[in-house]
Assembly symmetry: C2
Homo-oligomer: 303 residues x 2
């Protein structure tokens, strides 16, 4: 099952040429989830060959412009494309007001239903569930209310052992039943226990998105054991005072959090425009957490 | 005196890779005026080496997203850059509400004064004046209220004849006075009439911006005799029905308007994403108006 993230933007608020503000697309079993939607996200989708029409769920962490200013344009374009399927938008309650006023004054009556779910910045919450995944929010600590998102793959059914299918001539329509624990009786009347025909599925994987936040460790429980952690790393650690003042995290702190959470992989992002070269941020993080990578635009990472 | 326009974006609402929505910078004697501010304008300014800090006046024609969605990001970045000088924004009254709500929820208290001037879509109005230029609005006819802008260079003082300066040894501090009509008495006591020392200034030039509008000829008086006309040409003329339905203009119609207005130069823009190649729009316009050009991004045109 595919579970990967493509970075569309990982720059912080001040613009820098050829880097884009926060946006990324999570592909979970070919369902696409857009996380944050900074200005220019539409162009970034086009550039990366991702059809905006495939999106059905959009998650906005908070109401700083570099995380949501591309949303009205994207939603308007989907309207112009003639979309009729609903779009589900999850974000701070005030986002609805911001969207409504702009559609009102542009006299845009969306051709598709816009289903808005107000997130709660002060507590953990399960906000979405489908057969593959559960999505939870948790509080981050930034200058304004901000939520993190955690995407948890569900425990999957065991996998059928291919050799057994051939050996016993198991009909294809039996396979889903066997996975659910029903024993198989072959043509000779011999019963084969489901447990002998299957093996454990791969353990569920998970992805957490933490941008923007001061490094205060309060959300460490919410990201515990995550497979891949995207964490903001706006500054290098020599600017830790500035990071704290602006409620941001340093690259070193992001690595410490990843280590403490027992993450397998750390993606660093939300880079300040002061850094023309980003490798030093990666090097700094790797002094603490070896599997730290830069969330560079256009790159796709398996979760 | 410099009077030129640089195109930052000339695409219409539906996004297309590597083309940007409406935005352009008019340079009048090194004062920069931003006209419309579609999503991604900040990036386009960076790409074209135009410092956003040099902008003091922004003009928004109407509240369709492809004409203003880059504004909150741009104004926020100027705040982050530490700007203290006022920024003057001219646009539909509801734009103020759209800006205010977003600054409110992002808890952004701009470090600089934002001076907002509500334009009136139903009548002509002088909205700005400085020693070089007068800026007027006039009504266009679109799906929502929309104004055109006309930038009129003021009649300039006559030019001093350089040969006379040398011949008569005219001191440099006398030149502005002579331009204002004060005669010059040389060392021998001979009086030289100001009129003999000067020649007529170049005739004042003007720039008109018409996007978006149906072709209804009602604004022809307002653009009469304009030096350079920027006019939307969303479609080619084989789509004139669709153009009228959507309150847009075809390339042929834009050329007819330029001809009727007696413009010297026509810049075509606001191209539909359906046109991958834009030259046919230029060719169509040139069948009626020879000096028609595509307002391509990154190009600068003398007004």
């Amino acid at each position: 099952m595919k579970f990967e993230v493509t970075i569309l933007g990982s720059s912080s608020a001040t613009p820098i040429f050829n880097r884009n503000p926060s946006a990324q697309v999570l592909n979970v079993n070919e369902r696409l989830f857009l996380i944050d939607c900074g200005e220019g996200t539409q162009q970034q989708l086009l550039k990366n060959g991702i059809k905006a029409q495939r999106l059905n769920h959009i998650f906005i962490s908070h109401l700083h412009g570099d995380h949501y200013l591309g949303l009205v344009g994207l939603l308007s374009s989907l309207h112009l494309y003639g979309r009729t399927r609903p779009m589900y938008v999850f974000g701070p309650p005030e986002l609805k007001e911001i969207l409504d006023i702009q559609f009102k004054y542009s006299q845009t009556e969306l051709r598709y239903p816009l289903e808005f779910y107000a997130t709660q910045a002060e507590k953990n919450e399960l906000i979405y569930e489908n057969p593959d995944i559960r999505i939870e929010t948790f509080p981050l600590e930034h200058r304004i209310p901000c939520t993190g998102f955690r995407f948890n793959q569900k425990k999957r059914l065991p996998k059928i052992i291919k050799e057994k299918v051939e050996e016993l001539g198991i009909p294809i329509e039996m396979i889903p039943l066997i996975k659910r624990g029903i024993d198989f009786t072959d043509k000779k009347g011999v019963v084969h226990a489901a447990a002998e025909l299957t093996q454990e599925a791969d353990p569920p994987r998970s992805y957490a998105y933490c941008s923007d936040t001061i490094c205060n460790w309060k959300y460490i429980d919410q990201i515990q054991g995550v497979s891949t952690l995207y964490h903001e790393a706006t500054f290098m650690h020599d600017m830790s005072t500035r990071a704290a003042e602006t409620f941001h995290t340093t690259s070193l702190e992001a690595a410490q959090i990843a280590a403490k959470a027992g993450a397998e992989q750390l993606l660093l992002g939300h880079f300040s425009a002061r850094y023309r070269e980003l490798e030093p941020l990666q090097e700094e993080a790797r002094t603490v957490f070896a599997n730290a990578k830069l969330a560079l635009e256009g790159h796709t990472f398996a979760v």
